[in-house]
């Protein structure tokens, strides 16, 4: 079980990028992390992996996996952890594999690090089967450029699975893929999550994907979470105006309207975030209260929570 408490990521001698984020992921569940560019969702995922560059660091909060504190450990320092691993797949499958090494070798490398006793080749074949790559034995000898984007992303997943992770972080893994391939990869992730009892943190800006795939959703804005909910309740009745705004932006194929809805204004940059609620400048419901002081977390029905003074559903309690 992955537990993130009050995670703060700061640029060295600079502003906070992630400003106190908390969530948990249970085995077998998919948490969708939604937000626009610059909201800090990718930095959160890198922090969870221990892959933050030297210019950024975790300056507050903690990341705990099955009770073990892994907050400040880099990937190679986590290899010996008995309490489970976190693995990650990235957005650009076309460039995420080493072009001069064969696929089999790249998977075997991961196996050798995490599973030292196991003979790599049979295990690699097994992993390729798990990610539904046909003709696994042959593909082991292939080079990355011989595979399509979808196939490469599956290989990435196979590499991630080599360490038998407790949690898989997927940072926009399908954004760079064709829609049909997207569906296949998403289906694969869902299937693996169920079969292997893995927790998945799925990061995306695409609400459609979130609706299809996630069990729970967390919405991020300007370095903080603004709403968390199970996926059904979120889409039926979002609490936070930002969430509602995101859904309004989705074009409605049944309507005849010509104009597309937008959320006016733009997201604040790190270091430039106003006091009070960060969304206030763009919110139609904002009042003076919203612009000053801390924002309360309110509870809605079905375990929904949001950080808002005036949530959309009045049947809430603070």
């Amino acid at each position: 079980m992955l537990s993130v408490e009050n995670l703060v990521v700061t640029v060295r001698h600079g502003p906070e990028i992630v400003r106190g984020v908390s969530f948990a992921i249970e085995p077998g569940e998919i948490l969708g992390l939604v937000g626009e560019s610059g909201s800090g969702k990718s930095m959160t995922s890198l922090a969870l992996m221990g892959l933050l560059p030297p210019t950024l660091s975790v300056t507050g909060g903690s990341v705990t996996l099955d009770g073990a504190d892994i907050t400040h450990l880099q990937p190679h320092e986590r290899v010996r952890q008995k309490n489970g691993k976190v693995a990650m797949i990235f957005q650009e499958p076309m460039t995420s594999l080493n072009p001069v090494l064969r696929i089999g070798e790249q998977i075997a490398e991961a196996i050798r690090v995490h599973d030292p006793g196991t003979p790599p080749e049979p295990r690699a074949r097994e992993l390729l089967d798990m990610v539904r790559i046909p003709d696994a034995a042959h593909q082991l000898d292939a080079y990355p450029h011989q595979l399509s984007g979808g196939m490469r992303q599956r290989v990435m997943i196979a590499i991630a699975l080599a360490c038998r992770p407790q949690v898989l972080i997927a940072d926009e893994p399908t954004t760079a893929l064709d829609v049909t391939v997207q569906l296949q990869v998403l289906g694969l992730i869902r299937d693996l999550c169920d079969r292997l009892h893995m927790g998945v943190l799925f990061i995306t800006h695409d609400l459609g994907v979130v609706a299809q795939l996630s069990d729970r959703v967390a919405v991020m804005y300007a370095g903080k979470l603004v709403e968390t909910a199970d996926v059904g309740p979120l889409f039926r009745a979002p609490l936070h105006p930002y969430t509602q705004g995101l859904m309004d932006c989705l074009p409605d194929p049944t309507s005849d309207a010509v104009d597309m809805a937008t959320i006016r204004g733009s997201a604040p940059r790190p270091g430039d975030i106003p006091d009070g609620c960060p969304f206030a400048p763009r919110c139609d419901r904002a009042t003076a209260t919203c612009r000053t002081g801390p924002v309360p977390w309110v509870q809605g029905p079905d375990g929904q929570t949001a950080a808002c003074h005036f949530p959309l559903n009045t049947k809430v309690s603070a």
């Binding site: 190679h76 650009e92 080493n98 072009p99 001069v100 991961a110 080079y143 991630a160 360490c163």
Partner: protein, 315 residues
Amino acid sequence: MGRYVIKRTGAAIATLIAASIVIFAFIHLIPGDPVYVILGDGATPEQVAALRERMGLDEPLVFQYLIWAGNALQGDLGQSIFFETPVTQVIAEGAETSILLATITMFWIVLFGIPIGIFAAIRQGTWVDQGLSGLAMLAASVPTFWVGLYLILIFAAGLGWFPSSGYPSIFEEGGLANLRYLILPSIALAAPNAALILRLTRASMLDVAREDYIRTARAKGIRPYRVVMRHILRNALLAVVSAFGFTFAALISEAVVTETVFALPGIGRTVVQSILRRDYPVIQGVILITVCLYLVINLLVDLSYRLLDPRVELE
């Protein structure tokens, strides 16, 4: 792979033929009657007539070229005016010196340029890296003959550790110890080129380090040292290896001056002397051989690049 080899070799041959046409035209571009250009002013009428006949100077230029090229392919590059021996012989006499000089120089370049470049990349941003990069740029800005003269001043004339000029063959008295005559010249020749290779290695390592697949490698939990050596270096060296052809050409060029400074009996010095003596057949022959050699080296570098980088496709 086979098709690529054939295509690439064909391209090299085509370039060689085109270059040979340029080299052939060289004689005819020099002001004056080619016969006297070749034979010098002291030629007898018989020699003039014989040469006219042999080179087919009364024939159309195309035939002259074919005669010349045909001769060249059979190993006949004409006669040196100054030495009155075949050009091929003149070149062969200088070959040992130049080849050994180039080899030893290449050795310095690889030995110093690449490891120090890797080191600077690993320590990127630190004072060590800035210092090394600055020094490398400085070394790339020095004329080889100046370095050579200073090496002579300090190590030969001053400390007496190395001889200052000449080169007795290793096949003669002294054997392999005679290689010490080539140490100072090779250092002078290596300095700017090693600096360029250093900078290229460093830049290439930094470029590769920025790639997404390096992030993947780290995410796998591989230790940083291994990531650098196995993933970054392997990809970075591709760019360095493909620069070897150009490095070789630079060596040939600068060897001309270095051999002059150190009075080495190599092909470079022969070229310079031939220019001063107006010994055109020799100049022509040397240029043809060096171009040929350069194209061969480039071809080999290209093909080996293909072996190292599986992405390369036919052009």
